[in-house]
Subunit: 503 residues, 2 copies
């Protein structure tokens, strides 16, 4: 039997390869799971990604109610392994949060978290939590004209269709996906009502709401879902009440009270506004970093001074760029919605602009290196310290290191990679050597700090090893080197720091 | 003897008119004052505006040293009255902070705060604190194309010249004015060095530094200078040490430690960056307010929900516009400096854009009213609640209410004004009736809330009186009305709120 790449799914966690079944049916498995939990409400979590798989875990460990949780995802090469992994006792997300394993072992013991690909699960659901991705298609980061983008709702619609074709007439559909504002009211609810009508069912008991998580993969992964403020709304009064009732059973609402907003447009807007605020504040600092470089100023020193004001605590720092799943796309979702779902003739120009500025940061970081370096970079040996977009976490989704890495490659550099938190760089299909000592036995022309991991901050041993390298370039794109460290490196090396003109 | 407007100066505090002396000389007065304070260091504060006059007060009440303080300003119609007022026992700034009067009475008792117009004072100064204005010339708010601006350094240079022509060779010149980054190093120090050279004096004992206050006129006026974090730098090591020594004597540095930055470019940049950050964050919300109006969302509710996140506490709210002396010009000073003092070909485009967006807010607020109102506004009676740009403070400098007021006037409205904190609106040369009850005996077609004063928030008596008005329009440009208040007003009136499409 042949197993070509379209019919297998490989786990990056264990390396195990699963054959995707030809017959996409799991009725027996679902029925058997539900039979184990008589009288319990069934919660189906749609999407087993970074949010959905862990949301399922949180619901399986709900605070005041026992649920039977079914996680559902597509039987695709990218997702099928997650389904098998959950059912085989290996959680598909590697995280530094010990609660992940604790919650998962709990669920295994209670046998109340099952995974499947069969949409038959929707027919059993009292609650469906929608946690699938809704992506923005951007032009490639290799293209310097990064301003084009597109929002394709087709996969999202397909997921809602799958629910509507089978759901109970009184199901609660809780959208947690970050969606263009207007989606629950203008897309999800009408689609589900039409589907019920087509099945000859009334729509007056249907409940549709929206609430967004603020999940942060990392050491507080579970807490960022269960012990954090939630904002929610319903498409009508009944829906809002149902969402509130459900959230109260899974989230520690005594310590983190729920906030109900007037309608789902408002909650959907709140989520993308939050992230646009952050993206724009980073973009704002980009120009000031350039100004600081020109004026012989250390922008990090300036920002730290400003942050002493309580009203300015959240001023951001510049760096290599912006990564992750939210800040890189949410402002675009919002702007798209304004024009396409609410018929405005104006986009959210400043928020879009913020994304574009941030997208170009790795281009600037590379140009800065190239122009300062003087000589050609071809054939130079370059070591990147960090590929994750976030400090102290192994998350490479939309990491700005990728664009920087691509440009080094295109310039003919021989690039080595290190990251203490990333074993396997999925987007580049590359395994990463976690042994920094081993990597530093090689000699590099340029060592670039690309992520602000704790391992690279104030690490005297690392500094000593870098000093033992032959004279070369040290390029700090994040501003983690202290003045003292810079001066000590300058005894031998050339040091450049983004946002600092005062070295 | 005639006293035309060029030779008199009128106090808006007391109404008293002073004749400006023809002979601009006060050597006797200055010498007599200094003779009262043998052995004390002389601090000259240049500029007796909102900052300088109060900074003088703080230095006269220094914590660990007794200074003889001379405030100096121009013998002009706009400023001469301040000099006379200080010397006659009436402090020229009206503020709700009781410490102002306390500190002033202290200084009167100690006789250690004298005011003059005679630059002879500089020859006696151990320290000169520069607290004059440095303005940006913008196109008129009546012009919808607001994007032009100009920075004219001539008045600032003239003030530095006045110091250089007379100062001691070892004077400390501490610039507190918000200046284009680069000013202390590239303008002030070279000018003073050249002036000393011309007088045959060496420049090696000259000290020039920069430190910015974060003064907030209002109930914590004095504290905002004396009990708050300060950032400083010197143009050389000696200057930095001198600035630090001086600031330690006047500021509560034990509780609010000083922050020294690498050079004066950095401190100058920090100040304008702080204010640009805030201006840009307000501008950012403008687009989102429009989106909220289109999507039937209450932007205030959304922002309040987002603010529950510690990382998002400082997200701003929209409103009628941005006023005051700092946020309306500092981003422009910075952008101007980048191009004109550091030769960059790029402006700080986003920061400039932020100012322009904010400048257009009153235009939008008026257009919103006009388009919603339907009928012509000509001859309509309009009451504005608030002319100050800041809640609970009477400060009309660059208040956005001005642009809004001008447009109402131009549209032929009959505009009445109220503000509990502003007796006299200087920019409009208009006295304001503080008796709201009296004003509300008239009937208005439109009542507009233009400032978020506490007096207008949750004020049941006010609400009752507004409800007793004949059916008309209530227009909240700040979002101070609660849902309940709106509903109660809607029983009779038409209510519109900027940033809310959900009424």
């Amino acid at each position: 039997m042949t197993t070509d790449t379209l019919t297998v799914s490989k786990s990056p966690v264990t390396g195990k390869v699963y054959e995707i079944p030809a017959v996409k049916e799991d009725k027996t498995g679902i029925d058997a799971f539900i039979a184990l939990h008589p009288g319990k409400k069934v919660v189906v979590v749609q999407g087993l990604g970074f949010v959905g798989s862990v949301m399922g875990l949180v619901v399986a460990n709900a605070l005041t109610e026992e649920y039977a949780v079914i996680g559902i995802d597509l039987p695709s090469p990218a997702s099928y392994w997650k389904i098998r992994s959950i059912n085989e006792g290996i959680f598909p997300v590697i995280a530094s949060d010990p609660k992940i394993e604790e919650y998962y072992q709990n669920a295994l013991r209670k046998k109340n978290y099952y995974a499947t690909f069969d949409p038959y699960a929707y027919s059993k659901a009292d609650v469906v939590v929608v946690d699938i991705n809704l992506d923005v298609q951007k032009k490639s980061a290799k293209n310097k004209d990064l301003e084009g983008y597109n929002v394709d709702l087709a996969p999202f619609r397909k997921a809602i269709e799958a629910i509507g074709a089978r759901c109970k007439e009184d199901v609660l559909v809780l959208v947690e996906t970050t969606v263009p504002p207007g989606t629950a009211q203008k897309i999800v609810r009408p689609m589900l009502e039409a589907a019920l009508a087509q099945r000859g069912l009334p729509a007056d008991r249907l409940k549709v709401g929206h609430s967004y998580e603020r999940v942060m993969p990392g050491p507080k992964y579970i807490d960022s879902i269960q012990n954090f403020y939630r904002v929610f709304a319903g498409t009508d009064e009944k829906s809002a009440a149902a969402v509130e009732g459900f959230l109260r059973t899974v989230i520690r609402t005594d310590e983190y009270p729920l906030t109900r907003l007037g309608n789902t447009n408002a909650t959907e807007m709140a989520k993308v506004l939050e992230n646009s605020y952050r993206a724009m504040n980073i973009a704002f600092m980009v120009e000031w970093s350039r100004f600081a470089e020109e004026a012989g100023v250390d922008i990090y020193e300036v920002v730290n001074a400003i942050r002493m004001r309580p009203t300015h605590k959240n001023i951001m720092l510049p760096g290599l760029g912006v990564g992750g799943y939210c800040l890189t796309k949410d402002p675009l979702l919002a702007s798209w919605a304004r024009m396409n779902l609410f018929g405005s003739e104006e986009k959210l120009g400043q928020s879009e602009k913020g994304v574009h500025i941030n997208d170009k940061m790795p281009v600037y970081a590379f140009d800065f290196l190239r122009s300062q370096y003087g000589a050609s970079l071809e054939g130079k040996k370059v070591l990147l310290l960090g590929v994750s977009y976030l400090n102290d976490v192994g998350d490479t989704r939309y990491t700005p290191v990728e664009g920087f890495y691509d440009q080094l490659q295109a310039a003919g550099c021989e690039v080595s990679l290190h990251d203490p938190h990333v074993k396997y760089w999925e987007e580049k299909d590359t395994w990463i050597n976690p042994q920094l000592d081993e990597l530093l036995q090689e000699h590099y022309d340029v060592i670039v700090i690309t992520t602000g991991h704790r391992d690279y901050r104030g690490n005297a041993a690392l500094l000593e090893k870098i000093k033992q390298q032959p004279a070369g370039w040290i390029y700090d794109t994040i501003g983690v080197l202290t003045n003292e460290e810079i001066r000590s490196l300058q005894e031998k090396h050339t040091v450049k720091v983004i946002g600092r003109g005062d070295l």
